[in-house]
Amino acid sequence: MEGVEASEKVKRTTPRLCSLCNQRKAALRRPKTLEQICRECFYNVFEDEIHRVIVENNLFKPGDRIAIGASGGKDSTVLAYVLSELNKRHNYGLDLFLLSIDEGITGYRDDSLETVKRNEIQYGLPLKIVSYKELYQWTMDEIVKAIGLKNNCTFCGVFRRQALDRGAALIQADKIVTGHNADDIAETVLLNILRGDIARLSRCTSITTGEDGPIPRCKPFKYTYEKEIVMYAYFKKLDYFSTECIYSPNAYRGFAREFIKDLERIRPRAILDIIRSGEDFRISTTTRMPEQGTCQQCGYISSQKLCKACVLLEGLNRGLPKLGIGRKKVCSGEDQVQSKRHLENKALSFHGKHGNVEWKR
């Protein structure tokens, strides 16, 4: 009896070894695969997977100027850190920059930008900040005051997308990289199914988008789990800002996010399975898809006459917060003439991959 108790005691006190190296003590259970591994092996598999994604998808070529969309959050902080490391380790030959967007959210964005400024020093990467105020003459605080909390994420997302492109053009970047992770992409696949957006559904799992536009953007974290990014940041003691946007609680994405968290508990690989499904969807040839053109007002890419940013901005300036939200028609004829008077015409040209693009504002 004493022998049995002793052997059980030995079992309990003997540390579990890493299932990869079998040398060091296991420090964590990997969220993606549930393997019990040590810290060093976790760093290796995490970084190695991202490196393989970069190489297998030909994301970069030597000499590329890369703008890293940096919000100060965990995803972009880890992205900047890992990309910087891999660039040195594997000689990618990239020029890396941090690009931040100041949406003007007091108590949130002003704090997170301080984090990005620290990242600039910590990682030695030049930083460019572009603000909504200078681009659109509206901050998110002012927008939320005008429209409330129902569709504010729509405004912010649309404006940020264009702001990133404009900021990248200012620093003459060849590519933008963002920290969208596997959880984000899985949520987007589900959201597009729920909303009936077949056009976005066909594009949202592409690792690189906008290749026929001025500045393509790519997502090296496409197959990286959010939990693993958090784990990496935690163990590496990376400096990041972890508070959620103060205006986000009502976002519809929350539905999909909660569902995916529950799914992950039952079957961790479900997140990658959703992405795989998204990649495998074949759209019927009879489905009418939008054609890409340019905005008649500002020259940005758009499938309609006016891009979404122009429509939303017009709504704000005219005191019509619902303009461009839902399925209502955009203004036409006389209204377009009026709206042009509200906005200043200022040419902003930048060097795109396919030549200069006149971008009026």
Binding site: V189, L190, N192, I193, L194, R195, G196, D197, I198, L201, F255, F259, D262, L263, I266, R267, R269, A270, L272, D273, I274, R276, S277, G278, E279, D280, F281, R282, I283, S284, T285, T287
Partner: protein
């Protein structure tokens, strides 16, 4: 307005609006007083709250109209067909049975009245699959359920229908309970039972000479399938199971109530007192259960969400087997045949390779992996290995045994129903003679 004098009552109607219009106005004014809402379609009967502003009659007609449109626009049922309706006892399949019965009755009445009686009327049979010995459902309720099923089917007015109550495990010589019990993954177990169910229904159809199988799958059921298949990585094969027609099977499967929401079908059952078996909500720890509760939350937020999901998935490309071959349309007038998409007899059949367990088409990546593995193993490949290699990635993950499970791969393979194994072997026998697709 004419002045009639003090003798007139409060319901006085001016002379120039007498007649039908007058009656309508009279009714409307009475309604305003009694605040009774009228049907938005016929404006005669009282609108029912649960019927989206319609009266009970118009609501039924609306649902029957959807059913009839699905049947006629896809030429689902032709006069010579012998149709088998899969009846689980639930409200969706109950309504499917009711509508098929009504369609058959009308067709019979037309035939009776017709001078030539040249075209026959399709026959209908009903099958109930008894599964409680395989899954963990309470077997003491099974007798009650069967009694209710018999009562429902026998209660349908003429023409009478053959009812087949089939014990699933009696159809195959395998120990299905042991087989299902050996699957560790809860979702895999449920999905495997579903695949067994389809195999069983096909077996019954074959044995009793039915050439079409009707499933009471509603729009809500399809929305659940869309989300479930997406989260299981089955995006490629997802469209296969949600079309009106599926000819992968010997008895093609048709879904005539595909456009009706589950809630609408439940409402109809309540309105018309259609007897059906109460399905007890089981606590599901599987992905399928999670998807059901997620969809229920979405429905509370927006009742049209299921239709939107269906519409999105409807824009995905269906497969060649999701349409009939041209000889299925011989009873459709030739002027209408161009409306139907069909495979011309003589055209090469679908080149999709199907998983032997779930019958899902394999993706190009899965096929390439299968071929590569088979080539590596060479001629000495065992039957069991060849079978496992031909399964899709989803069945591999959630159904087939892994090293750490109690049952060995050989043991699991030995318990599989022969029709499931045979499906894989048939292709293997001829694969060397099949030309590669360009």
């Amino acid at each position: 307005m004419a002045v009639c004098g003090s003798a007139c009552g409060t319901n006085c109607v001016p002379k120039d609006t007498e007649g039908e219009e007058g009656e309508r106005l009279k009714r409307l004014s009475l309604e305003e007083e009694s605040s009774v809402r009228r049907c938005t379609k016929c404006a005669e009967e009282e609108a029912r709250k649960e019927c989206n502003g319609l009266c009970a009659g118009c609501f039924r007609a609306y649902l029957y109209g959807k059913f009839k449109l699905a049947v006629t626009s896809n030429a689902m049922i032709s006069p010579t067909d012998k149709v088998l309706v899969a009846f689980s006892g639930g409200p969706s399949s109950r309504v499917a049975l009711e509508f098929i019965h009504e369609m058959q009755s009308k067709a019979l009445a037309c035939w009776d009245a017709s001078n030539s009686q040249a075209l026959p009327v399709f026959t209908v049979g009903v099958v109930f699959m008894e599964e409680c010995n395989i899954s963990d459902e309470l077997s003491d309720q099974a007798d009650d359920v069967i009694a209710q099923i018999r009562s429902i089917v026998s209660g349908l007015s003429p023409p009478s229908k053959d009812l087949h109550i089939v014990l699933m495990e009696s159809l195959f010589s395998s120990d299905l309970r042991k087989l299902v019990g050996s699957i560790n993954d809860a979702t895999g177990r449920e999905d495997f039972v579903r695949h067994l169910r389809m195999l069983s229904l096909q077996r019954v159809a074959f044995e009793f000479g039915y050439n079409k199988l009707v499933l009471g799958l509603s729009a809500s059921g399809i929305a659940r399938h869309v989300l479930s298949a997406t989260v299981k990585g089955q995006g490629y094969s997802l469209p296969a199971d949600m079309q009106y027609v599926d000819t992968r099977w010997k008895a093609p499967v048709v879904l005539p109530i595909r456009d009706c929401l589950e809630q609408e079908l439940v409402t109809l059952c309540n309105l018309e007192s259609l007897k059906h078996v109460q399905v007890h909500d089981k606590r599901c720890t599987s992905i399928n259960g999670l998807v059901s509760s997620f969809l229920a939350r979405l429905r509370e937020d927006n009742s049209s969400r299921e239709h939107t999901i269906l519409r999105t998935a409807g824009k995905l490309k269906p497969f060649n087997f999701n349409k009939f071959s041209s000889n299925q349309y011989e009873y459709v007038p030739s002027r209408l045949r161009p409306k139907f998409q069909f495979i011309e007899t003589g055209e090469p059949e679908s080149s999709e390779v199907l998983c032997p367990i779930c019958a899902s088409p394999l993706t190009a990546t899965e096929l390439a992996t299968t071929r590569c593995s088979q080539q590596m193993k060479g001629l000495n490949i065992k039957e069991m290995e060849a079978f496992y290699l031909s399964c899709c990635q989803s069945c591999h993950f959630q159904i087939l045994p892994k090293e750490e499970t109690s049952m060995s791969c050989d043991g699991f393979f030995d318990l599989l129903p022969k029709p499931m194994v045979k499906r894989s072997l048939l292709r293997d026998e001829i694969k060397d003679y099949l030309l590669e697709d360009s």
